[in-house]
Symmetry: C2
Subunit: 436 residues, 2 copies
Amino acid sequence: MPELPVGLLGCGTVGLGVARIILEKAELIRSRVGVDIRLAGVADINADAVRDLGLAPGVFTTDAVSIAEDPNIPVVIELIGGKTVARDLILRALSLGKSVVTANKALIASHHAEIAETAEKGNGELYYEASVGGCMPVIKTLREALAGNRVESAFGILNGTCNYILTRIAEDKLSYEQALAEAQQQGFAEADPFLDVSGMDTAHKLAIVVALSHGSWVELSDIYVEGISRLTPMDIEFAADFGYRIKLLAITKNRGNRIEARVHPTMVPFDNLLASVNGAMNAVKIVGDATGEMVLYGQGAGRMPTASAVVSDLCDIARNRACGIKNRLPIFSFRPGTAKPMDLLPMSEVETSYYMRFAAQDRPGVLSKIAGALGKQNISISSVHQKGRKTEGPVPIVLLTHRAREADVMAALDEIANIDVIAERPVLIRIEEEDR
Amino acid sequence: MPELPVGLLGCGTVGLGVARIILEKAELIRSRVGVDIRLAGVADINADAVRDLGLAPGVFTTDAVSIAEDPNIPVVIELIGGKTVARDLILRALSLGKSVVTANKALIASHHAEIAETAEKGNGELYYEASVGGCMPVIKTLREALAGNRVESAFGILNGTCNYILTRIAEDKLSYEQALAEAQQQGFAEADPFLDVSGMDTAHKLAIVVALSHGSWVELSDIYVEGISRLTPMDIEFAADFGYRIKLLAITKNRGNRIEARVHPTMVPFDNLLASVNGAMNAVKIVGDATGEMVLYGQGAGRMPTASAVVSDLCDIARNRACGIKNRLPIFSFRPGTAKPMDLLPMSEVETSYYMRFAAQDRPGVLSKIAGALGKQNISISSVHQKGRKTEGPVPIVLLTHRAREADVMAALDEIANIDVIAERPVLIRIEEEDR
């Protein structure tokens, strides 16, 4: 049986999971793949990390570069993360014609061009199933299963931390701060949760989904990104009264010559499957022109689910190398230069429907002024909700609009901000009613 | 660019969809696969079927065998269905070393051994993504994405007709007969719906899922199969009162040395994602030991969704042939002879919890007699519900049990049948509470 020596760079949470599958599932993998995947090198800055793996002498090293450059190790798994050391290692391995497996969405989203060029020049190849949606085969589905489809749209719950926080607020009436603290205690959220709650992690994943769906990359800095930290239990409750759950969604749509790509808290109707995705689970809805609506659901993070995706890539590589081939698939789904380049639709031109909550002095005529400002921009209201009444202080006025253009909404809100009885900038949450 | 001549056998609903994607999406496929997939032969018994395709002269024939045997056509798509002509054509093509694509679950479930042997001898290969779950990449996920996982269990809603009927009964209080008639009008159900509503179509798909999950085939005739035709709106309503939806599930579990494989109406708690799969949609929940719970959801039938799956196979084959390889994957997930053979767990030894509805004369002591018979078999009751009361005639007594063994339940029901005040054989519906 052919043997495939593999190098593992980074033995943290996911790395240890990958090592465990390779070591403990060797027989299963031989039975399914027909290749003996051998852990030929493992690198970490901390020798303690691999203590429990029982590695043979000489396998462990603190020098990751030596593995990336080892001519006897044709496959390298990068699980160090970040954009410095990891970038150098990946580019080095690709330039030497190796197969590289990574979960590093931040790196791919920022350095895809450099990665693709280096891989092409060096005849290397990149696999990255674990970069989006943990154990779910999102990359495989987009690159392979949907090969005959034009992807019309994709909607993803791609960050378990955010979804856990939103679920706890919705179901248990926690505040954002309480829910975040709990997510940290449970180990879902990092000590510094910025990348997660800001929506940036979701944006990294969206950039990859966009490229695989439409064949065009969007600049990370051009993606509209709004995180979850300003959501209040009040808005989550009002949303439920209207029949919606609030989820942090990554959204992309093929609008003909242009692409939508945005990340923001989004109201999703109860009967949309994404509204039922709770806790730390992830899901992606992909709409293909032939398939129609399709959903993948699963654990988007965690040691073993993410390791499973890495091993799936490893097995693909092993099958190819056993047949003597490499680069069976274009790295980013479309062969370079073959997809029609598409521009990003500016956020101001996006059309969707909206939830707006105003804090207003309870005086006659307030609603009429708000409605007037909206009407002037051709924004029509689908329902209004005025919750509770206090004798003093501002009262919430909540309304939903029909589809409107983002620029018109912003213009209306600017005008409404000048109404003297409006206490503060209104809360705005976008709604996705449709599937395309 | 390399060219791949493809033969299409059968130009019905799905066949026409496949032809349309190949003809209309040629540019997209070239851009993603780097191969020119060319419709080199199309066979149907009816020349009118291909009228609108604008095929070049000489491409259409009524002689499917000539295409299956054509040395210039290395890839054959079988969409004729059935187990006679289709079987001959598939075996012929495989014996000639061709790549064969099919959606024919009935044939695979019954003739897998013959197919595998013929393919091995002739160096042919079989792809069958469209055989289970329409557009969803169920086969790809089991064969490839989960390569490093032991599959613990799988639960599938795999027949759109049945799910449509059950949804209409649950949501719109139709009778089974009304819902079936409607499904036929809408084109979801065949004129002869037996294969669908009997659960047999689901069993064909389950046999494939079992083989790809555990590496062992089960005989179709050994699978416990119960259809939906005896379900009543009353039971569907009672189930809802207890917090459950009734779905026709294909279930398989890895029980160590043995496999569970069964198809029957199943009560699923509301908060299980499968309970939210409505209308003609399909879904599969797969639990891997590394991935944990994963769900795929999508259209399980229909022209374009099924055609999308066929084209996904075609593109896989095209990528391989462009690299000069074949048989990159074992046909049925495990390399022949490498998986531990596992026996089917007899239905009598299956353990689950149960819904039981008795029609009893409204006399004192009935419940005590029922409970006594259950207790004697160590079956404990988790809740009882006695709905409505009539002055005359039988009243329904509904109860849910904790986990019990099927054989014990049957023994208890035999004893209960002898109680004089029990009007008829009780209704029994199995419940799946857990995810494994």
